[in-house]
Structures are given as structure tokens and as C-alpha cells.
Symmetry: D2
Subunit: 84 residues, 4 copies
């Protein structure tokens, strides 16, 4: 067997992956740009990331987690309302 | 030059790294075990990780971040006190 | 000042980020799908990832790294031609 | 119920985790130091990491992966022996 690997097929897969990775890179750069723009407008990027992350959770899920966290922090004498 | 790489020296470096990586692996497993034990005692592992992470910050730093977060969440109509 | 955060501006930033993250997620899923399809056609996914990674390097860069690696492996008695 | 969380128990878990994380940090720093020392002795850190990673695999496993990689690279016209 002179060529046990289907070169054309392999190349097609590799090139599809590379194209998609390029697109993904462009979008990742776009996201960085939006955060940079927000920072330029006075927003705190770290907190903004937190907000984006929090919005992925259901309100009741967030509230429940916050309640347990407050409980733990109080049990440790770390006070309430320090939930981030 | 038949041997441009100092084999003994290289081997010594590699073995030191491997020993340290083994030690690190043991400790990582120990950490997992403590979390598992805490879970077995009714604690919420995700929140426990959050507590450990929060304790690395200074209180004033935590409070400031929490205040900004609450501000952002209120501006988005997501309500206060949902800081995790 | 009753509202120190520009809510509309904040919301606009958050929504732009969320849209971009969704697009990024779709592309990430597409990439996984291509790998799965390649696997279904008999390709080894792990090696395929390696190929994609190698193609990002310049040939001379790859060759130089491979040469140093072979040197190190031989100095450790691990033999040549085991470069992955 | 005035205190639904066993504060002492929680504190004990948190402190055990913190001690272990500190130990882990020390070892991580030690590993970095060894790599830095190796670099100071003329070794290529990136390749050294590769060597350490390769040594975790069985020889036959490495050889098999290398063989498949060479096959794929040849099918793509990227030549043999460029396996890193």
C-alpha cells in the first residue's frame, strides 16, 4: 500500500479546522476589543466579566449560591455582603 | 563533538522536575480529598472554593469589588445582593 | 448623583460581549464537529490536533525543535525518532 | 436555628485547604526554579518540557503516535521527521 492515508480527505479536514480556528480567533479578538472599549469608557473590566458570567445563571440559582456563601462567610466571621 | 549535550546534567534536571511534579500531584490529590471530605460533611464544594478564593483578597478589596458589582447589577436591573 | 453608572451603555457592552461569546461558542462546537467527523472517517483526533498545531510553525522552526529534542532524547538514552 | 453551619468544622476544612495550597505553590515555584536553572545551563526550556511530557508515555505508545504523525505529515506533503 503506497498511501495508507487519504491525503485529500485529511487535507480537507485540516483546512476546515484551520478556517474555523481563524474565525474563532477573530471573534476572541473582538471580545477583547469590546472589553477594552468598555474600559476606555470607565468600566471595570474584571467586574464586567463577573457580570457577564453571572448573567449566565438563573436568578434563583444565583440567589441560592449567594445565600450559602453568606452563611459560610458569617460562620468564618468574615461578614455578609462580601459575595464576590 | 560526539555528544553536544551533557547527558548527566540533563538527566539530573529531568529527574528533579519529575520528583517535584510527583510531589505536586500528591498535594493536588490531597486537596481534592479535603474537598470530598467536606462534601461528605454536607458542605457545598463550589461555595467552599469560592470562600477559599475570597480569603485571598483583602477585606477592603472584596468590599470595593462587591460595591462596583452591585452598582453594575442594579444598572442592569438585576438587583443587589447577588454577588456571587 | 442618583445613577453613577450609565446603564444603557453598560447594557450595550454586556450584550455585545454576549453576542460575540455565543458566536464563539458556535464556532467552537463546529470545530468539535469537524474533529468528530474526521474520527468517524478513521483519523486519530489526537494526532490530527498535533498536525494542526505543527502547521502553525515555520518548517525551519519545527526542524530545529525536532533536532534539539532528538539530541536530548538521545542524551537520555530514549532513542531518536520519538518526537511527538 | 441560630447557626446552621458548623463554623469550627468549616474553618478546619478551609485552613487545611489553604495549607495544602501553600505547599503546592512552593512546589510549583520549585519546578519553575529548576527550569530556570536548566535554562541558565544552556538547556532549551520548551524542549525540556517536551522531554518531561514524553517520558510519561510508554515507549511503544510514543512510537505509535510518532508513526501516525509521520504518516499524516507525509500525506500533507509536510515531510517526515518533523514530529514536534
Amino acid at each position: 500500500m503506497s498511501d495508507p492515508v487519504a491525503g485529500d480527505q485529511l487535507r480537507a479536514f485540516v483546512e476546515r479546522i484551520e478556517r474555523l480556528e481563524e474565525e474563532k480567533k477573530v471573534i476572541s479578538d473582538d471580545i477583547k476589543d469590546v472589553y477594552a472599549e468598555a474600559k476606555g469608557n470607565g468600566f471595570d473590566v474584571k467586574i464586567l466579566r463577573k457580570v457577564v458570567s453571572l448573567r449566565k445563571k438563573q436568578p434563583h440559582e444565583r440567589e441560592e449560591e449567594e445565600a450559602i456563601l453568606d452563611l459560610y462567610l458569617q460562620a468564618l466571621g468574615m461578614g455578609p455582603g462580601v459575595g464576590m
